[in-house]
Amino acid sequence: MARVQFTRHLSRYFPDLEQNVEVEGNTVAQIVSGLNDRFPGLAAYIVDDQGALRQHVNIFIGNELIRDRKRLGDEVQADDSVYVLQALSGG
């Protein structure tokens, strides 16, 4: 199972969210779905209604930023570390 770590900001909304969560899935989309099963509502902070990554969120697999922001189809290996991070921007 892949190990997922989150921006600490999300723990404000999901106090039970652990620092490291192990989730099964072969793609980022499956990982997000698995996370939402365990923490209902979490996916809404990560993806929009169409399942695309929200503008202010970035997901890394290891040190690599995922490429498929629309469908989250990037492959995830069982020993991968996945990071769900904030991108802070404005103008």
Binding site: R8, Y13, Q55, H56, F60, Q86, L88, S89, G90, G91
Partner: protein, 155 residues
């Protein structure tokens, strides 16, 4: 609901904004939440990583900078309360771009810089509906964690 700063912290933000003019500056607000209030323990300037040609109207803090700051804050026993940035030659009010890129519960402090000089400072909170920003009262103290003067804005 208020956010507490020291004079030195507000001064640092104002100087950072002036130094980056005509580009936007940005940085972190680190501290603790006490009931409905927030106390800023430290201000940490960071590099604006938005495309250089557009830094007059945009800022970006890279995810890796956010991640590293989260680790540092956690080790220090504080939280990232929010971020600050400057509005060169514009009021310290959030833009539509600010709204669409904001996180609920974060404090968004904006300093207006006019002709290179810092002007007013306001802090904003995104509503839970994400449809609007609400003003967050700024309280400036002589030093952190002491009673001090209150300002809805700081000129």
């Amino acid at each position: 609901m208020a956010i507490y700063f020291s004079n030195a912290q507000i001064g640092l933000i104002r100087r950072h904004g002036a130094a980056c003019y005509p580009n936007e500056c940005c940085g972190f607000l680190l501290g603790a939440t006490l009931g409905n209030d927030r106390v800023v323990h430290a201000v940490r300037p960071v590099s604006n990583e938005f495309d250089e040609a557009r830094q007059t109207t945009r800022y970006l803090i890279e995810p890796k900078d956010v991640w590293e700051m989260e680790q540092d804050a956690r080790a220090a026993g504080v939280d990232i309360l929010g971020v600050y940035h400057s509005h060169p030659d514009h009021p310290a009010r959030p833009s539509e771009f600010d709204r669409t890129h904001a996180w609920p519960s974060f404090s968004y402090l904006i300093v207006s810089i006019v002709n290179g000089r810092p002007r007013e400072v306001y802090s904003w909170l995104l509503s839970e509906s994400r449809e609007e920003f609400l003003e967050e009262r700024i309280t400036v103290q002589e030093s952190p964690m002491r009673a001090g003067r209150e300002h809805s804005k700081w000129r």
